[in-house]
Symmetry: C2
Subunit: 129 residues, 2 copies
């Protein structure tokens, strides 16, 4: 089915595209307001789901309370800095061999692996506490 980018959905999509962090729904609403849009709460959630379902964006569940959203839809993972909360992309892919080992161990047909890493980012590494 053809993708229907309404004004609201387009505006939400633009926010995600322009973001260099990984904004939550609340962040998106805040940025929409700053850009002069005042959409209903539910509309933003609906839009985020619509965009996610149509693979224009990705929903990230990093173990925090709120989902984050990412304009990069290629297969990749994320690392969160435990000091400052910053989220970065991890493009290095997990070895196919490992996936096969998991399939063998569990008997599952393995569809995908979501990997959330934790560590200390370069900036926090060098800064004093």
């Amino acid at each position: 089915m053809k993708i229907n980018l309404t004004t609201q959905r387009k505006a939400v999509y633009d926010i995600i595209l322009q973001a260099h962090d990984h904004p939550t729904a609340a962040d998106v609403i805040e940025r929409l307001r700053a850009a002069g849009h005042n959409f209903a709460y539910g509309t933003v959630y609906n839009s985020l789901r619509y965009l996610t379902d149509n693979d224009l964006i990705r929903e990230l569940k990093l173990g925090e309370a709120a989902s984050r959203y990412d304009a990069r839809t290629e297969d990749h993972h994320h690392i969160v800095c435990i000091k400052c909360g910053r989220v970065d992309e991890v493009m290095t892919d997990v070895p196919q061999q490992w996936m096969e080992a998991v399939a063998e161990e569990t008997g599952y047909v393995v569809h995908e692996a979501t990997i959330n890493l934790e560590g200390v980012c370069p900036a926090c590494k060098t800064s004093k506490p």
Copy 2:
């Protein structure tokens, strides 16, 4: 500091130890009731956190709404069946080499990787829809 296992904490711990699935807080409360305990809502959450903080159990954030809890505290991962929701352990560890590649790519000091897999479990694989 010495671990203080009160009646409530011990009862919660026992539920997790005896569970062969990976119960949520709500599951734990339900099973406590079934066992004749009727602790305050908050006490169960406090107990789960206390047990988690003291490494007696692990909190799992599998991308679902609610956290699950696991009596196995060794380093391991989880796979969720997309058909029936069943959660299984994955003991096969991710190659150290991969972790190093991620550290190199991102510049982070990598502390840990949480891996949540999705697939179809053996039972669902063989059963007709």
